[in-house]
Symmetry: C2
Subunit: 210 residues, 2 copies
């Protein structure tokens, strides 16, 4: 009667298994948020025993931070490539905003907002959040500075303007997270950012609509 039936297991190289576990954590975080990254749920997602997750990861806090980095770095990298394709600063910014506020990307908002609060009890995560935010700021700052130099934007402090753009992006993302989808976002948003950057009316709106 006590054929307690041990599950059949396949041995894999530590590197491969470790990657699988991290991948499972990333997929889980993308789907249900960072707070869904638990020892047991990751184990289930990776189809391994709970103990194995703990074995391959220093701590769950670290795994959460890793998942955050993977997801948000990938997003930034994606945006960077899209931005690279555009020629003018205004075009770059328009593409950036269109990408960030794409509806497909709502899940990333959840990851960000959760990271801000979870960072308060997870210093590893907090450090990651700071790093990726800095990277975002740098990307935005570059675009704004280029626009200021070319005359497309009339900004006195590109660095500060980049912070405010980032704040705007974060805030609006958080809003959609709760329940809002103010309908005419792209067009009106373009108009808004034109003003923020002192661009000529229409330079961003036209690009944003495509």
């Amino acid at each position: 009667m006590s054929r307690s039936s041990r599950a059949t297991s396949v041995r894999k190289s530590p590197a491969e298994r470790s990657a699988e576990i991290v991948d499972a954590a990333v997929a889980l975080a993308r789907r249900e948020g960072l707070s869904a990254v638990k020892l047991r749920s990751v184990a289930a997602a990776a189809a391994v025993a709970p103990g194995l997750v703990a074995h391959y990861v220093p701590s769950m806090d670290a795994l959460v931070a890793t998942a955050f980095e993977r997801i948000t770095r990938a997003e930034l990298e994606e945006v960077r490539e899209i931005v690279l394709a555009a020629s003018t600063p205004a075009g770059k910014l328009a593409e950036l905003l269109a990408t960030v506020f794409d509806d497909e990307r709502e899940d990333v908002s959840l990851v960000w907002v959760e990271a801000w609060t979870m960072g308060r009890g997870n210093e590893t995560l907090a450090a990651s959040v700071r790093d990726v935010m800095d990277a975002w700021h740098a990307t935005l700052s570059d675009i704004v500075a280029a626009g200021a130099e070319s005359g497309d934007f009339r900004v006195t402090a590109p660095n500060e303007a980049a912070w405010h753009l980032l704040g705007l992006i974060d805030g609006l993302s958080a809003q959609t997270l709760v329940h809002w989808r103010p309908a005419s976002r792209p067009a009106v948003l373009g108009e808004l950012v034109e003003r923020v950057l002192g661009a000529r009316p229409g330079t961003l709106v036209a690009l944003a609509v495509e």
Copy 2:
């Protein structure tokens, strides 16, 4: 040896005790965030047994939602009164921004950001969040609309502009929560909002500095 020593208790009217417990929850949330509002921590803060908290509250989710409402409604009310004192729309907005981004108010940011994520598993809280956000939006919208009418602001869609302002406020608040305090916030922010609303340069900056 089994003098298990029951703590001396003072009987109070249900209304009074109930108020004490809610007050303790509010104070706790203000100090350490909504996530600190636990059955036992609230009990300790109110100096009662854990069971009493459960006795006076339908569920902890409800208590968290109540604490959120109390804190954020009070903030909004405070801002409303300050805004009322200013005469021009630009002045009202300048006062509003100065108040919201006052350093003393950092704790409220934590409450907001936590509410956005906790609302995902607490429908009572989610409903409260939507309500208070609507109220904020209405307040901002009124100011912007008045400014549009008076000619102080050149905005085509006050309603949308209010959403964006709110997004900006929320996003920048969240940033300070993580670790940022971009130094020259008030002045540069005023300039930013002038542009957002198409106000004449200086109308907000001058007021914000006071």
